[in-house]
């Protein structure tokens, strides 16, 4: 589904030049649950941003369902993100002083969905992450784990093809982390949602079906987990 060929990302020029990705080839198939690992500065986040259509590679080809995305402009990439991708961040990134259901509705507002449909879809997504009954709690009234669940609900409410999670358990304690991982795993297995997750915890990567390890802008290891 995702095909990266010879992807390079170079920041800066001259002596300040930093090579973040030095030519990466990756294929992601539908339904995979991929852990992207590596030390900081290894290029994993840059690669994630490119796959999330947030950033553009300096060179190389990135095809999404056969469509070349690498050369698309800002607006086209924004449309692409809106139609196919969902994002979950380490810091949850919910809007402050906004209720759970309003946060989940937000992507649908930007997609121009009608109010009634929006409410229904948002309620379904909240149910899918196991937060029924907490729809009208604001972000501040929810625990970290619950906030991350809301963020996941927000990411899946628009029925994305791929869910991109950037260290989703980075701010959570171990028990909450495992809860979140089990939730992601369930979404992956039950709904066939393709998930790309950046993490540096091997414990969390263990939930994934595939593990890609970056080092110095290259892929060091790419292995299917022993099932």
């Amino acid at each position: 589904m995702l095909a990266l060929r010879g992807i390079q990302k170079i920041y800066g020029e001259g002596p300040a030049r930093v090579i973040a990705l030095a030519g990466v080839d990756v294929d992601i198939r539908e339904g995979e649950f991929v852990a992207i690992m590596g030390a900081s500065g290894s290029g994993k986040s840059t690669c994630m941003n490119i796959m999330g259509c947030l950033d553009r590679p300096t060179a190389g080809s990135f095809k999404f369902h056969g469509v070349e995305v690498a050369t698309l402009g800002n607006d086209a990439r924004a449309l692409f993100r809106r139609n196919y991708l969902g994002f979950v961040f380490q810091g949850f990134n919910l809007l402050a002083r906004t209720t759970a259901i309003e946060n989940v509705e937000l992507p649908l507002i930007y997609r121009g969905m009608k109010r009634a449909d929006r409410r229904e879809a948002a309620a379904r997504a909240i149910a899918a992450v196991g937060l029924e009954g907490r729809e009208s709690h604001t972000s501040g009234e929810l625990s970290g784990g619950q906030q991350q669940r809301v963020a996941i609900a927000r990411a899946i409410v628009s029925n994305p093809k791929v869910l991109l999670a950037d260290e989703p358990t980075g701010n959570l304690d171990s028990a909450r982390s495992h809860d979140i991982m089990r939730l992601l795993q369930r979404l992956n297995l039950e709904q066939g949602l393709t998930i790309l997750m950046v993490t540096h915890e091997a414990e969390m990567a263990a939930y994934c079906s595939r593990r890609i390890i970056f080092s110095d802008g290259y892929i060091l290891e790419d292995a299917k987990a022993a099932a």
Partner: protein, 402 residues
């Protein structure tokens, strides 16, 4: 989407009530000042126009003393005499009346009440020339005028403050040392354009006034009312000729009197008021501009502050133009809110000012609508730059922003 942006804008404004209010203040003051000044100016203008008609229409006033600017001659200028009046009456065409008047401040007593009043000695034409109407009774008669009987007509202020409920008609009051019978009461005219109470007046035959009140035959002014506005310049010229002749002013000498067209004076006053209103309005408009810059400033701060939020929105599917719309709507809503408060404030101030200055409270709807529209426009113009900055944020950078 627009409705969502509107709701979102209201919520953001509610969350930062104090900051939003301070931001609005510039717009509030600007719009308020424009509305208050224009409304008050309009009222003043109305009043000047009303006063103009109260003065008596198409009126010319002759006064002793040169109209030429320059140092005063030192000696008191010669008053008019009965002879001047007779000459005018005989010589003028196209006039409704010629009224000689002389005034004196005199204490008037009725019962236990007393009042300082302007007593005017004149002839019957006075009432027509100055556009007075009678509430009760009538003017003194031609024979009263000739023989100088002790009769008089009183203004509305006397009816209220001196007679205090007693029907003045047929009553005798004391004017100075002279007892005088009231034969008529005048309808109220209100304040003159110069601020004095025109209704605090007693009018009596000129002859009576000269003999019993003033003790002299001096006439201080002669009012003449033309048949129409068109004849006034001709009448004015004829008046000057006749007066020079009867006062025996030598050909090479300047007039020792002046003849003025009151309509002209009032019109000049009206245009001066309009000019002042315009200038003050322009100054107020500048404060609107300053208010707009305030809006831009705070919107830039808001964009910087909410960089992360913008990043989230961009990441979850907002397009650049949707973020632009959101911030633009926020700026416009903020400004319109300021405009509304400003309009309320301005109208309130104008109402208070109108009451204080005793001018009519005349709301010009089109000015109110324009001020409202203009505040929205300010939001649009000054909100655009910050909104565009928000829309062009790089989502990765914005998300990383702490």
């Amino acid at each position: 989407m627009l409705w969502e942006s509107f709701k979102l804008a209201l919520r953001t404004i509610r969350r930062n009530v104090l900051r939003s209010f301070l931001t609005l203040l510039g717009i509030v003051i600007g719009v308020g000042a424009v509305i208050a000044l224009v409304t008050l100016g309009q009222g003043t203008n109305d009043k000047v126009k009303a006063d103009l008609s109260k003065l008596g229409s198409n009126m010319l006033i002759a006064r002793p003393g040169s109209s030429q600017p320059g140092p005063p001659s030192g000696q008191e200028s010669r008053s008019f005499t009965v002879r001047d009046v007779e000459a005018l009456k005989a010589g003028l065409r196209n006039v409704r009346g010629v009224a000689p008047t002389s005034n004196k401040q005199v204490k008037v007593v009725y019962g236990t009440a007393s009042l300082d009043v302007t007593v005017t000695g004149t002839e019957i034409d006075y009432f027509a020339v100055q556009d007075w109407t009678f509430l009760t009774g009538s003017a003194f008669s031609e024979s009263d005028s000739r023989s100088g009987t002790n009769v008089c007509v009183v203004g509305a202020t006397l009816v209220k403050d001196l007679f205090q409920g007693v029907e003045p008609l047929g009553e005798t009051m004391r004017v100075g040392s002279m007892p005088c019978t009231v034969v008529g009461t005048l309808a109220a005219k209100g304040q003159s354009a110069f601020g004095s109470d025109q209704d605090n007046t007693v009018v009596m035959p000129l002859r009576t006034f000269m003999r019993r009140i003033a003790g002299s035959t001096k006439i201080s002014t002669i009012s003449v009312s033309g048949n129409s506005a068109e004849v006034l310049p001709a009448v004015q010229a004829t008046m000057i000729d006749i007066l020079r002749e009867s006062r025996r002013v030598a050909i090479d000498e300047d007039d020792d009197f002046s003849v003025r067209d009151l309509t002209q004076i009032a019109a000049t006053m009206a245009s001066t008021t309009a000019l002042m209103t315009g200038l003050l309005g322009a100054v107020a408009a500048v404060s609107l501009l300053v208010g707009g810059i305030g809006i831009m400033n705070i919107m830039l701060v808001s964009v910087a502050e909410r960089t992360r939020e913008i990043g989230i929105r961009l990441a979850i599917g907002a397009l650049g133009h949707q973020v632009l719309t959101q911030f633009l709507v926020e700026a416009v809503v903020l400004c319109l809110l300021g405009g509304l408060i400003g309009i309320a404030l301005g109208l309130g101030l104008a109402f208070a000012g109108a009451t204080l200055l005793q001018v009519p409270f005349d709301v010009n709807i089109s000015v109110v609508a324009m001020a409202f529209g203009f505040s929205g426009l300010i939001g649009l113009v000054f909100g655009f730059f910050p909104a565009r900055r928000a829309a062009q944020l790089d989502p990765i950078e914005a998300l990383r922003h702490e």
